[in-house]
């Protein structure tokens, strides 16, 4: 009881909680779920991009893409490490992913069909991710906040690279390339808007997350911020966002906002529920990698034990 009160007071004061500090069970569980889901998203997110490494159209783009997936793997590492401070091992978290108990970002359940998808993932998907993640850099749980600061810096870099690759195609490319970019934007736009989660009035966990300083800004606020920022970028790029209802509304807020159309929440729930275009392929690929690699992990473990025995004997 005293502990709970002290914890609440620290949260209210904007203090950071460290791994060794006392925390309520639900706070721990909520964080664990969120951080591990975020970690899973990084590694599942390597798959749609990995699909195009072999086909990257220039050596420079191939190098950029390899560096990016490498960074994503690194993000996964930090995040698993942050989650481990809360008392669950990486293997336990992976088991939850593989059994379907733990989620990852639903955006990766859409396929990458053309090279332009890679640029659009950088621009829109990473862009939406950054919108979501910047507030987490001020999250009340310090290890998570520290991981996010580093991650956000790299994500911004990825976003610029993605946008830049689209800009090159739109400004100097062939008509076929421009059509490819527009097509990719058409396919990714709506799923990206869904990345901010359900509308605030249907997001029951948000209030508690806000209270605990895990969540700092509401889903709808972040979504609007993303739309406002992206419309301009789309104009510079010369692509049309696939929403006929998109229009400037000077009346909303202090400086006005872009109104946008209705999101197909039935699709959102269907994909989250496992029935998206490539849910099975993504999870199947991760499970297969894990199972195919079991003998490697066992060998590494056996070798380490042998080395230890030798050292102890010496």
């Amino acid at each position: 009881q005293r502990l709970q009160e002290r914890f609440d007071a620290r949260i209210d004061a904007g203090d950071f909680i460290e791994a060794k500090d006392w925390m309520p069970d639900n706070y721990r569980k909520t964080l664990l779920r969120q951080i591990s889901q975020h970690a899973h998203s990084e590694i599942v997110g390597m798959l749609p991009e990995g699909n195009w490494i072999g086909r990257a159209p220039t050596l420079k783009r191939k190098a950029i893409l390899l560096a990016k997936v490498q960074d994503e793997g690194g993000h996964g590492l930090y995040l698993y490490a942050a989650a481990e401070t809360l008392g669950q091992s990486r293997d336990e978290m992976l088991a939850a992913l593989h059994s379907g108990k733990a989620k990852y970002s639903s955006i990766f359940n859409y396929p990458t069909l053309t090279w332009a998808d890679i640029g659009v993932i950088g621009w829109l998907v990473d862009g939406a991710a950054i919108m979501n993640q910047v507030p987490i850099c001020r999250c009340s749980y310090a290890p998570y906040a520290r991981a996010m600061i580093r991650i956000c810096r790299e994500e911004s870099f990825h976003q610029r690279q993605g946008y830049d690759s689209l800009l090159v195609m739109m400004q100097n490319g062939t008509p076929e390339q421009k059509a490819m970019v527009q097509d990719a934007v058409n396919r990714w736009w709506w799923p990206c808007l869904m990345m901010f989660g359900p509308p605030d009035d249907q997001s029951p966990n948000s209030a508690q997350g806000m209270r605990w300083g895990i969540k700092r800004v509401s889903n709808d606020t972040l979504r609007q911020k993303f739309v406002d920022a992206t419309v301009q970028q789309a104009q510079v790029l010369g692509v049309t966002l696939p929403d006929p209802d998109l229009k400037w509304n000077a009346e909303r807020g202090e400086e006005g906002h872009w109104d946008f159309g209705t999101i197909d929440w039935a699709e959102f729930w269907r994909v989250v529920g496992g029935d998206g275009p490539v849910n099975r392929e993504r999870l199947g690929a991760r499970v297969k990698a894990w199972e195919d690699g079991a003998w490697v992990r066992e060998a590494a473990l056996a070798h380490a034990r042998k080395q230890q025995t030798k050292q102890e004997a010496a």
Partner: protein, 257 residues
């Protein structure tokens, strides 16, 4: 960029293509592991090795294009040649195999590349010493990473040992090509462009033996067969790699990326 290009078959250019195509195709193969490695650390490590290899490829192919004098840039050379004009070691075009095959191949090739980079620091060429100096640091790390895994797998479980043994039996067949010199090597040596492959055999065998010695592996004696990828006669695997690798450049002629 549209139709295929065909570099002149000059000895100095061929010499560089052998290096640049070897790093290119191995990089391509390692990229296939992305998202499919046994542990996350290896997803990262293999992507990192691939990234280094692609970086080396860019430097070497750019230099090859300058020498060749038809104005080909790194991407034209990487993407627009026909299969018979690629000059990589045959070994690197073999399918990615399992993790044992991957790390043992990495050990073999990164050691071979490392020995090249060491000697290329003294090349008479204006650019190669600089390229080699940077690549050498990377190759040392690649070699160490691969050697660590070969040790772990050879001295791990029965299964991992059996897999390393199988990988060794498969790869050994493609080792002689690494050291069978021809006119291109002779010209490179004479012109102080770089070492002949033949000159690297002893050092390579010593370095491999030092790793193998720690875990009871032995390099099989060389057979009569010498693979010929470095002379442009490949296995059936390269054509499939190229169909994938070149696809966008071929399908979008004149594209800007």
């Amino acid at each position: 960029m549209t139709a295929s290009i065909r570099p002149e078959h000059r000895a100095d250019v061929e010499y560089l293509l052998r290096l640049g195509d070897t790093t290119l195709i191995l990089g391509q193969r390692l990229g296939e592991w992305c998202g499919h490695a046994p542990i996350l650390e290896e997803d990262i490590a293999l992507a990192n090795v691939a990234l280094d290899l692609i970086g080396q490829t860019r430097a070497v192919l750019t230099r090859a294009g300058e020498m060749e004098d038809q104005g080909f840039d790194e991407d034209q050379l990487a993407y627009l040649r026909e299969e018979r004009d690629y000059r990589n070691l045959t070994m690197v075009e073999l399918p990615r195999g399992d993790f044992a095959f991957t790390v043992l191949r990495n050990l073999f090739v990164s050691t071979w590349l490392k020995l090249h980079w060491e000697r290329l620091q003294d090349s008479a060429d204006a650019e190669l010493p600089g390229i080699a100096g940077k690549a050498l640091k990377e190759a040392r790390y690649h070699q160490q990473h691969a050697a660590d895994w070969v040790l772990r797998l050879a001295d791990g479980t029965d299964e991992s040992r059996a897999r390393i043994d199988t990988a060794l039996a498969e790869l050994a067949r493609y080792v002689p090509e690494m050291f069978t010199a021809d006119a291109v090597d002779a010209a490179a040596e004479a012109g102080k462009l770089g070492p002949s492959r033949a000159a690297l055999r002893e050092a390579w065998e010593a370095e491999i033996a030092s790793v193998f010695g720690e875990c009871g592996l032995t390099l099989p004696a060389a057979g009569a067969f010498v693979s010929t990828g470095t002379q442009g006669v490949h296995t059936e695997h390269l054509g499939r790699i190229l169909a994938e690798m070149q696809y966008l450049q071929r399908a979008y002629p004149g594209g800007v990326w």
